[in-house]
Amino acid sequence: MRIGVFICQCGTNIAGTVDTRAVAKKAMEFPDVVFAVDYMYTCSEPGQKEIQDAISSHRLQGVVVAACSPRMHEPTFRRAVKKAGINPYMFEQANIREHCSWIGTDREANTRKAIDMVRMSVEKLRRNQALFSTQVAVNKRVLVIGGGVAGIQAALDCSDGGLEVVMVEREPSIGGKMAKLDKTFPTIDCSSCILGPKMVDVAQKENIRLYAYSEVEAISGYIGNFKVDIRKKATYVDWNACTGCGECTQKCPSKKAFDHFNEGLGATTAINIPFPQAIPKKARIDSDYCRYLTGGKCRVCEKICPVKAIRFDMKDEIVTEEVGAIIVASGYDLFDARVYGEYGGGRYPDVISAMQYERILSASGPYGGHIRRPSDGREPKEIVFISCVGSRDISVDRPYCSGICCMYIAKQAIMTRDHIPDSNCYVSYMDIRAPGKGYDEFIRRAQEEYGVKYIRGRVGRIYPRGDRLVVQGADTLLGVQVEIEADLVVLATGVECSAGARPLAEKLRISYDQHGFYMESHPKLRPVETNTAGVFLAGVCQGPKDIPASVGQGSAAASKVQALFSRDTIETDPQVAHVNENMCIGCGKCEQVCPFGAIRMKTLRDGSRKSEVLETVCQGCGLCNATCPNKAIQLRHSTDDQILAEINTLFD
């Protein structure tokens, strides 16, 4: 084999602490190496040209580039050598930047290490084989997990592009958190008025199949060909028959059911439709409160229902859908303010969360849009908003900024002053984060036009005095303590990952950060991709963000799916496991350890059992290779021979 070695200086990134010229000179002594050179930026256009020229002038059969991490530029160099007529797998990249030049300052030691790393790569390349990828067909259907505004936008964009969409929503209706909001900042337009039409679109588009009150149970397969098991949770109502007339909800005698949509303010009936604009507008029985399901007697709804849709014997059902790509828009939860004992959330009825206040403000809310205190129904005159409850607080493990609270507090304070002109609104804040378009102007309006009093300092504690609450805080600008007697206290609870985020990530095989938000492929340049091919992200499941940003990500994820589906086939990675049947003893250990279900056992005509790799499912992790007692199963491009050759050359 004729091998060429190219040492990248990466400006001073590598050349600063590695003598690249010396590495190139030494490389000429390695077996099969016929050409070696160092270059300023090997990844640049002229740098790639240098490789291609050397391939033709020195008749190279393999190329080693010692440069940055293969995660950065392996695709670049593989493409470059392929263009010059070499199989892209006759290429090796030694990472002498992240693994060498960046981590030590001793130039001599670094140079020695770089030489060793190049030597290892040469030894591996000498045992490389040309590999060829195959093409697999793409199933042009997309699964959208989550029916909040991000998921809705993604689904509608995909649908507009002519794709078939499967949407799975955990709650009985789509709409997510946005459906609960009264108004949206910074324009104060009605949330359900702008979201409603999009929700209706989802219901009416013929190429969107909606599974509401359903959850993703299991996912198998790979980009282009996923298989998804969806659990349709029992609603005890046949949704094909239910017309959403609401007769049952009028007559249901169990009227104390927890009202999830209204955040537990007020109660609803055991059989209910969550809110008037619900999509799908179908009734569901809350089995925790239904008199028949808990006590065995009642069945009033069954008698009332004009279309006989009630099915008390309904069970959860699993359906399977096949899709080619997945958009995850699974949303978020809000911080539980009860963690702050000193604020008395959950203890004092008039200390409420901002989402509860949003429901109080809403015309479809528990008080018909009139602002009242939950304790005695009185109209509050003094209202205190406390920001950063469960945000920017490492003592409760929420060091990040939720990014939306400053804005929604301003909105709620403005709405309050609008509803009750003789009320006083106070906002206790640490810093105001309003970097969006028109956002800071909105905060100014709250202060200048609506006279909302902003007090810079955190609140220490809240305690009752008579039928009011004393809010004891600080004004750090004055350097004094502040005391406000409030009728109502609204806690701006922060954003946290959805309770189901981590288990869902494991099903999807995508990674999440320490707070449970899903990891994008690159924080700047690949914001809606994951490291699992074919799985994309949209909305707050990736990190706190507001409605415009969620909608933007929904559209971005949809466009990624459209780009993927614009091809009929996709190339598979040939770096997968391969069985040498002569050596396979059919023990089946590889089948047991494979995390992707990519190995199955087959019986040959002579009756012997052999393992077989499903090449499109295999992700090339190498577990089978390490497990196989006979070394019959080998990971292509990282075979035992290759790895041992790399190690052996270190000790020669």
Binding site: C388, S395, G457, R458, A474, T476, G479, V480, Q481
Partner: protein
């Protein structure tokens, strides 16, 4: 302590002081983002010359003279409300404690009577193993040259049995004495 009119930060910022406070309190003061919760929760903010968050700010800016000469560090009751509520997990009360120790070492305690009180308090602890309040009040008032301070309260508390007339010794006085000796030899070094 006088609030500086113009903070000439390049002249007055003492980096060594910041490091010393951090070392002696075991707290990283740069973690404080000035939310004000310590000042909001403190029971003595009304009498402080600098609320706690401003003390933290002064330390962040290395204002050694202002901090060590402040009243606040001596009025702090070490109730630890600041520590409990700090969202940054800073043990603010330990910072205050470190500042008091440094203030004594530097000889810049804002009022000498404060130190007198501490000394008398510890002297009685050394002698009896616990505080003898009546004795403490008497000794402190006499040495502070204001013998009749709070004298009108005397009869009331005596009637309620809140003050003992004779000191009460504990059993492990030897051990107490050893603690004091250990401290003294430690300080000698």
């Amino acid at each position: 302590m006088q609030r500086p009119h113009v903070l000439q930060i390049q002249k007055t910022c003492d980096q060594e002081f910041i490091k010393r406070v951090e070392r002696e309190s075991g707290q990283q003061v740069s973690k404080c983002y000035q939310c004000g919760n310590c000042g909001a929760s403190c029971g003595y903010t009304f009498d402080f010359d600098f609320p706690v968050n401003q003390i933290m700010r002064l330390v962040q800016l290395g204002q050694k003279e202002t901090v060590l000469g402040s009243r606040s560090i001596w009025l702090c009751a070490n109730c630890q409300a600041c520590t409990t509520r700090c969202p940054c997990n800073i043990e603010v009360a330990r910072v205050m404690e470190a500042l008091r120790i440094m203030s004594v070492a530097e000889g810049v305690v804002s009022k000498k009577n404060i130190l007198l009180f501490y000394d008398e308090f510890l002297e009685l602890v050394r002698r009896y193993g616990r505080v003898f309040e009546t004795g403490l009040v008497a000794r402190y008032n006499i040495k502070a040259l204001k013998p009749f301070t709070d004298a009108d309260l005397g009869p009331q508390v005596l009637m309620k049995g809140k003050l003992a007339l004779k000191p009460h010794k504990i059993k492990g006085l030897k051990a107490i004495e050893e603690i004091f000796k250990r401290f003294e030899s430690h300080r000698g070094k």
